[in-house]
């Protein structure tokens, strides 16, 4: 079990250096990165690309919130106040905010950036199953992004990120923008499918000797469930936007009633992908959560199997709840079926939250930036999840559908869930990825601003939604003004928080203290590797001696036992010490 392969030995010397070490001069290094098939470099490249997309989408969001600071009013003298952008520009801004955030940032962010970097490390592999396909997926992502950016350059798209027909197929003067945008989405889908296929095979075939399915870290389970959804759902999106493009360009009637099509059919197609896609966004965040809570509370995840199976349960049920986006469009029977199924999908998420809270019980809880983000995730994701009950309830949805209540709900899930977890995960694995520590005080300051800013931005949106404020409005009746103003001020605090984080990361790269191999005392395999890892990840193929969360029995690798004291062994229980000595 402890032998290493000849292949490993044969590469000693060449590959014992950090993956970040430049191979030569600037051009050589750039060429090395551009042609790399190292999952770590591809993960870092994805991280930078998706963070750039997050910045672009964030600027659009700030402009949207700025426009909504005041309602547009024409006074008696005919002067217009409260308007920064005309409605047509505003509609482009919110469309691009949604499209960039969904397709360019949140879908690839955690799986393709953190997942790429961590998945092989966590299962003790040298790389993903298909390293070249991995690099191709990054280039396809960049190509798809460029095609989508052409649409933005050509004065933008105003269809909303959902491209609902017949609006998206009939708007005059935006012909090629819509075509380029949907084509970009089509191409980006392939990037997502490639990543998903790669990860499914990697998890099945490349686990280290001795690592059974239930020895995998829960992040791997989450990424695996995500990858299955990516492979099965994304082709439907590709088909959908292709049909839309065919209708737009060749006037073939699929969705436009004027051409004999059915606009509701489009919505079914679109959400058949885009609802599972919601779980492509949140499942990896849930996986990060399990790692943060386990490592920083030094506790075995409560109900490991329930958490693992709930990821698979979410992946399965996510395919049969798409119709809950159509409660105001469809008949009674369809709505009833989808409402019932929607309530079922709530249960696995609830199980996870209960298990994370139970994991904290009798832990040894470190208060640092990753753990604060984990606790913040519990707070914001719980609100996001619980407010889903309102929307799954048919009669209540008739009132809340397409209001700001929905906007608040999905931002609490997507941003309060996926992005908060992503930020926690970046802080948690930053030392591993770049070999440098970040400044903890700066991290906590950034966290505080993000947490306050996020809640101030989005909680008022629940209130105005419940009071009837429809979404995608460039202006509004004055009654909603106080809510919009609180929300806009919140967006500025949020910006300040992100800038603090950005500054702290740049400071860390330039002047951060060198990171130890295992700064948090983690037990999953990535903490056995160096910080940053060597090119082939591990000097010897790792062999599994313990589970990823056996904090009660195992001193973490590379750590001083005095820093991580173990509880007394249980004398009557022969399993725990036996595991230790394995």
């Amino acid at each position: 079990m402890t032998t290493t392969t000849a292949h490993d030995n044969g590469h000693h010397g060449h590959h014992d250096v950090s993956y970040l070490k430049p191979k030569g001069g600037a051009l050589v290094t750039i060429w090395d990165w551009m042609t790399t098939i190292d999952h770590k470099k591809i993960g870092v490249m994805y991280l930078f690309a998706t963070l750039l997309a997050f910045f672009v989408g964030g600027v659009f969001a700030l402009l949207v919130r700025a426009e909504l600071l005041f309602p547009t009013v024409t006074n008696a003298a005919g002067d217009v106040t409260g308007q920064i952008f005309d409605p047509s520009t505003y509609n482009r801004l919110f469309t691009l905010h949604g499209a960039v955030m969904v397709f360019l940032f949140i879908i690839p962010s955690t799986p393709a950036a953190l997942g790429n970097f961590l998945l092989p490390l966590m299962i003790g592999a040298k790389d993903v199953a298909f390293p070249r396909l991995n690099l191709l997926s990054w280039y396809v992502y960049v190509f798809g992004s460029v095609v989508a950016l052409i649409a933005i350059g050509l004065s933008g798209v105003d269809t909303g990120w959902t491209f609902y027909t017949p609006y998206s197929t009939s708007t005059e003067g935006e012909h090629w923008q819509v075509v380029f945008m949907t084509l970009g989405v089509f191409i980006l889908g392939f990037s997502s499918i490639f990543t998903g296929m790669n990860f499914v095979v990697t998890v099945h075939k490349l686990r280290a000797p001795g690592m059974g399915w239930f020895d995998m870290p829960l992040f791997v389970w989450a990424i695996y469930a995500t990858a299955i959804i990516q492979v099965l759902a994304t082709p439907v999106l590709g088909v959908t936007v292709l049909l839309l493009t065919l209708e737009r360009v060749f006037q073939i009637g699929f969705f436009d009633p004027a051409l004999g099509g059915d606009p509701v059919l489009y919505q079914h197609f679109f959400w058949f992908y885009s609802h599972p896609a919601v779980y492509i966004m949140i499942l990896p965040g849930m996986g990060i959560m399990s790692e943060l809570v386990g490592v920083h509370a030094r506790k075995k995840i409560f109900g490991y199997r329930a958490v693992a199976f709930s990821s698979m349960g979410i992946a399965a049920i996510s395919f049969i709840v798409w119709g809950h986006h159509l409660f105001t469009s469809e008949g009674e029977l369809v709505s009833a079926i989808f409402s019932f199924l929607t309530f079922l999908v709530a249960i696995p998420s609830a199980i996870k939250v209960f298990n994370w809270v139970a994991t904290l019980y009798k832990g040894s809880i470190a208060i640092n930036t990753p753990m604060c983000y984990a606790l913040a995730f519990l707070f914001t994701f719980s609100i996001g999840g619980l407010t889903g009950i309102y929307l799954g309830a048919l009669a209540v949805d008739l009132h809340l559908h397409d209001t700001y209540f929905i906007v608040a709900h999905f931002h609490y899930v997507m941003m309060g869930g996926a992005v908060i977890a992503f930020l926690g995960g970046i802080h948690h694995w930053w030392p591993k990825m770049f070999g440098k520590m970040y400044d903890e005080r700066a991290g906590l300051l950034g966290f505080t601003l993000v947490f306050i800013g996020f809640n101030l931005t989005f909680f008022p949106q629940f209130l105005m939604g419940a009071n009837g404020m429809p979404r995608r409005y460039a202006t509004y009746v004055a009654d909603y003004e106080p809510f919009h103003q609180a929300s806009t001020i919140g967006s500025w605090i949020l910006l300040a928080g992100f800038l603090v984080h950005l500054g702290a990361f740049i400071h860390s790269l330039v002047a951060g203290k060198p990171a130890p191999a295992n700064p948090w005392g983690g037990l999953s395999l990535e903490w056995e590797a160096e910080s940053p890892p060597i090119e082939h990840n591990f000097a010897h193929e790792p062999v599994i001696h313990h589970g990823p969360y056996d904090f009660d029995d195992v001193v973490p690798p590379h750590c001083d036992p005095a820093d991580y004291p173990l509880p007394e062994p249980i004398e009557s229980d022969s399993v725990a010490p036996g595991k230790h000595a394995h």
Binding site: Y164, F302, I351, I383, G392, H399, P482
Partner: protein, 368 residues
Amino acid sequence: MISTLAYIPELLLASAAPQTIKLGVGLSRQSSTLAANHDLLFWFITWLCVFFFVLLMGLGIFFTIKYRRRPGVPQQRCVAHNTPLELLWSLGPLVILIGIFFWAFDLYMDAHVAPAGAEEVTVVAQKWNWSWTYDNGAATREFANVANTDVPVFAVPAGKPVKLIMTSRDVIHALYVPDFRTKIDVFPGRYTTLWFEAMEAGEEHYLFCAEYCGDQHSQMAAVIKVLEPGVTAGGPPANIPWQDELYGDWKSRMAFDDRPLKEVGATLYITKACNSCHSIDGSVGTGPSWLNVYGSEEKITGGTTVTVDENYIRESILVPAAKIVEGFSNQMNSFQGQLTEREIMALITYIKSLSEEGRVELEAAPAE
């Protein structure tokens, strides 16, 4: 007129209005027979969420403080699995959620299926206005300012169910009345229905478009005004403005508009939402301004020019795509079948009144 509508300022000013919510954290006022039942479920879910949220966060914060890391102190050994507990927190919420499903489905059926004998109103949505036609052929001629735009005011009777039979002439819209707690999408090429029964005569309610439909989506509003359903013996009830003009029941007060053409045109300008694209002050919108347009020479996409006269205006209303003024795109729906001959004439007269050349013609012409 619309200022009486504002419900949130009312509660911010701690007004005694009985049906509004406090401090703006709840719902808009309950103004349909569906609203009270809806709100009961809404608040049940709210308190359920508050309970679980406080439970989870309370435990999370308590554990974090109690079990915070102290140097040299190990975590305590404890079980990492408890089947009864896990079954409790899996099946318990499931039972509650299934209960909510049936409750919400029951109310949804109430909201979806109109009671027999409801007043039927045909609703046509298009970018960017709502038009209602009552079964006697009447349409509205009153308007109000909402979200900086003049929008139509529609009358509904108090205490009688009203069923809207809705369709769209272009893209998807959604008819939403927050005070009634209901909305339904409005599609091109098919009918959807929505019903409600307003409770209090004299109230006014916002009607919003809830499905994104383009540039003026946020101004595609209307006002619903609740009237006494009929005339009581001894004449019209007091305090209802429309009752002053004409006699009869609530619908007939909106019937045939016999005012002078220019006034009818000025009303149609708003109720048919010409104002969402065409200004009358010279500012450029989605379409050309009507100020001084009559009698002018306009460049047409494709290179020709046209003089704006009665025939060009008529063609632009009925076949908007025929001649597009340079610099604008073809955004307008045909109003074929939407306007009577007299109404088309009324709009032409109104446009004439907005330019010097037109006014000269109008003064020279004999009065109608």
